[in-house]
Amino acid sequence: MKNEYKILEIKDIIINTQTIKTFIFDWKMEKDEIPNPGQFMMIWNFNGESDEKPMSVSKIDLDNEEIGITVKNIGEFTNNLHSLKIGDELGIRGPYGNHFKLNGDNIIAIGGGVGMAPLRSFVEHAKSENKNVDVVVASVTQCELLFEEDFKKLGVNVFTSTDDGTCGYKGFATHRTIDLLKSRNYDMAIVCGPEIMMKGIFNILEDNNIPGQYSMERYMKCAIGICGQCCVDNTGWRVCIEGPIFSSEEIKQITEFGNYHRNGAGIK
């Protein structure tokens, strides 16, 4: 059955920042479904207090048959994940959802905080296709910048920005992007981060006629398109099936984008 869990040992844990870790798992690319950049996995932590959340795939290594998920410690579930060690097991089902589409030659990837996670696997893919990629890596402060070194190793241009100015540009990802667009041209953008940031970026990209692809997050239960928990207003699209990646044209129709979301009880 497609939605059966694979119970996998944590093969490696990379400490990315003080609050962010990447968990690496063996993934049989031929037997299991190969994830595409932008897709997500449902991560079931049955160690202790059982719970399950969607997580973007940040690393897709076809040669070594490994995948990675990148997790920021922001609550009980992620705190429990962060306490796990190499060799501990997690349940994984997926990949789910749609994915980023490579339909440009000059690409800008804009990410805030742990929103860099799905961008990482896409940028890796785009570089392997010899595309020009610039990445805006934004965070609140220097020690929270994610994947800066990974991106540099891939040979893409990295433009950091921190809210407090401790590394790179001082200011928000939006300001950094406006600044970049003065001197550089792009024919596609991919964006992931806090929704308030994505909304700001959306307005900027629209003004500059750059088609964007945005990765959205909503509270999820089934991830297989039936429970209705992750549906967005007013289109009723399911973030787990029609998303999590939405184009600029689709974002325009999602009235709740940047405005509100619903919790597990369905309360806005």
């Binding site: 059955m1 719970d51 089934c222 009880a265």
Partner: protein, 311 residues
Amino acid sequence: MLNMELCGIKLENPLLLAAGILGTTAASMNRVLDAGAGGVVTKSFSKEPNKGYNNPTIAEVEGGIINAVGLSSPGVELFKEELSLINRERKTEKSGKNNPNKIAIASIYGSTPDEFNYVASKIGDLIDMIELNISCPHAMVGYGSAIGQCPDNTFDVVNAVKNNVSVPVLTKLTPNVTDIKEIALSAQEAGSDGITVINSLGPGMKIDINAGVPILKNKFGGLSGPAIKPIAIKYVYDLYEDLDIPIVGVGGIRTFEDVVEFLYAGSSAVQIGTAIMYEGLEIFSQINHNLIKFMEDKGFKSIDEMVGYAH
């Protein structure tokens, strides 16, 4: 050709979205109506907000899923806004009149007749029908099947609601009883306008042998999907003989053949839920299309002619 009536309410076709599936927001339910459903049943809600269970809330099994979402809902006050946004009334250009052939059914739950009555009394003008969920197999103690497994409790809940609302009331029953006839008759006697059978089966459990624990956070949950269809068909067939009120059949419908089977067994309308995970939202238009073809081939002029055909 598919036009029909259920408890005096006109429907453009007999396919309804089942409770608990894609029924959390008006936008989602409108999408299901646009996809071809004749009506939608909302996710069950009650007086107060309820978070439901933590994940995992759904596990796939052979022939379907088991789920224990745990009746999560924002509560009636907040949910009224969603109800008001369901596109149940289509204005036809010619007549300029409201043409409510796409219907909204509110699924409500509670632990006492008073609670059911309170919720029902708040929503009467926003929906076309009410479905009483007295059959959820993974509800909190005192809710769901705790009511629907007892004829007297069933009577009291149906009676309380029927005394106070003007819209038709369906009572959704659990298959997890020794004698469903007694309970269905009790609901009919209390004034229920129709019966919906069946809610999910069981409850059941799935243990992941590598994790070594039950998958669902709630450990057990209701079984739905193609696996439960023969049981649902039997309940519909039996109740059709016993009841004077219409039956809405639900349980494992995935194809037009399944719909025909339910109609032949005695359902006046049917509900579709779990199969959306296999077929997508296209399931509604596909079944409608194939149902018309089937009716033409067999010489049926209306859905009504097919109801109870196997008896």
